[in-house]
Symmetry: D2
Subunit: 155 residues, 4 copies
């Protein structure tokens, strides 16, 4: 196994460990039935099914629930390098309503990561691969590691 | 009672009726324990207490829950003139974390309302009147009334 | 030449014609020394050199000039299908300053295009391929064609 | 003169000095014919007349020029306390086109200012007091003073 392959395998393991660590304590994501999907360094997928309790006054999925799914995927992605980060700000465009029973999938991709601030794009699609929302998350690292006993890697 | 006072009273009643109508069917807001506070034409306040089930992996309030509160206040405000409107897009800046037990209050104010699109600013504060988040909502009217048997007023 | 190839060639020609038509009358882009680069359906590149007259009080490129470059690329991209569109709103993140003499390049890519509204992502880089800014443009079509004597294609 | 009045007078003088200092070296704002209007701590107004050289391919004011005006007002406002700050990101909603000869006015108001990051709202209106654009600027302080020989005040 080459050094490059070893580095990639280590980064991949780190990303998965960070996501699991965050998710294990993420009561809000669990309360919404969010599951973690594919994880890679800088990238994360999260999925959620639209339930009755997520519908708004127009019987479509409350925008806050779609945002929450995107925000969770963003969190797993921007914390994937074992440097704890929080959301500083986000934008979301709602392109298609979610309806009862929809299986929504949010995929977050790192677009920029500086020493401290990062920008991640998230797309939310439904079970028919239709675009439901586009989200941009601005993250800020907070000088802590994600894993409790890990040595924080250099930026 | 002057005509102006009558108009104001009617607009106020309409705003309250629209908010109640929306809220009555808004399972998502209820599931989060959101309550409607003061309502005025173009303006709405919503409140929510941060519970265990709203905490994220860092034991602070999940950004999606803060967004949901702001989004609900925005919805009540942009639907307050009995012209059904949906969120087209939103931005949020997170300025201070919410913690367990915080009583959050979101106040939405109409900043612009054209024939179809509107812009609403929402501020989210905690029980100590500290700023938790700033939110901007872009709304789009959808050619329907909010109240089931109402005649939609002219734009 | 297959029908598909013919369609692609026609779409490509249309995109180039629309960009040239817009640019020919775009005094603001010309005043900034903006040039059109590669054009494809839904995509456009524009370039600009940072001059003395673009510097702000901190002797870096005024954010408005970087925005203008991104906005012009966005305009060429969202008008590339001969359906006239205007900017409804934009966001920009400034990641690295531009300095005197920098050769900036903005590449706009269609991310979503509905019947009326569209979302385009633009990245602005310098001559060293370093990321200067990320931009998102929300467009709105206005029921007109870009080319003066063209038949507007169906949405 | 009470101490409070003295403090206010000093803060006001500081805000004016900072704006003048920035503007004196701001070639970009001058090239666009931007003038500084009223200045207060955290607030600034800037004005600009739409010229031929600001028109885009649709013969309305290029969005980048409207953005530049708002961005200049934002810069004067977020630098008004003699702590140098730069734009980290901005959003703008275009609500009404600017046309040749329009006298545009941008008023920036501090909405939030922490130790480092700030949020400023800017509204752009025309000579008929019609709303042309709404802008939000996120600023970041950079550990320097605006005035060359000033002692940077504590945050």
């Amino acid at each position: 196994m080459s050094q490059q392959s070893k580095d990639q395998a280590r980064d991949q393991q780190l990303a998965e460990d960070c996501a699991q660590q965050l998710f294990a304590q993420d009561a809000a994501s669990k309360a919404l039935g969010i599951s973690i999907g594919a994880i890679k360094p800088g990238c994360a997928t999260a999925t959620m099914t639209v339930t009755d309790a997520m519908l708004n006054g127009y019987k479509t999925c409350h925008g806050g629930m779609i945002f929450s799914l995107a925000d969770s995927a963003f969190a797993f992605a921007c914390n994937s390098q074992n440097q704890a980060a929080v959301a500083a700000g986000c934008t979301i465009d709602f392109l298609r309503p979610g309806v009862l029973g929809d299986q929504l999938s949010a995929t977050a991709t790192q677009r920029y990561q500086g020493k401290r601030s990062g920008i991640y794009y998230v797309e939310v699609t439904n079970q028919n691969a239709q675009l439901v929302a586009l989200f941009k998350g601005n993250s800020a690292r907070v000088n802590a590691s994600v894993l409790p006993d890990a040595t924080t890697p250099k930026a």
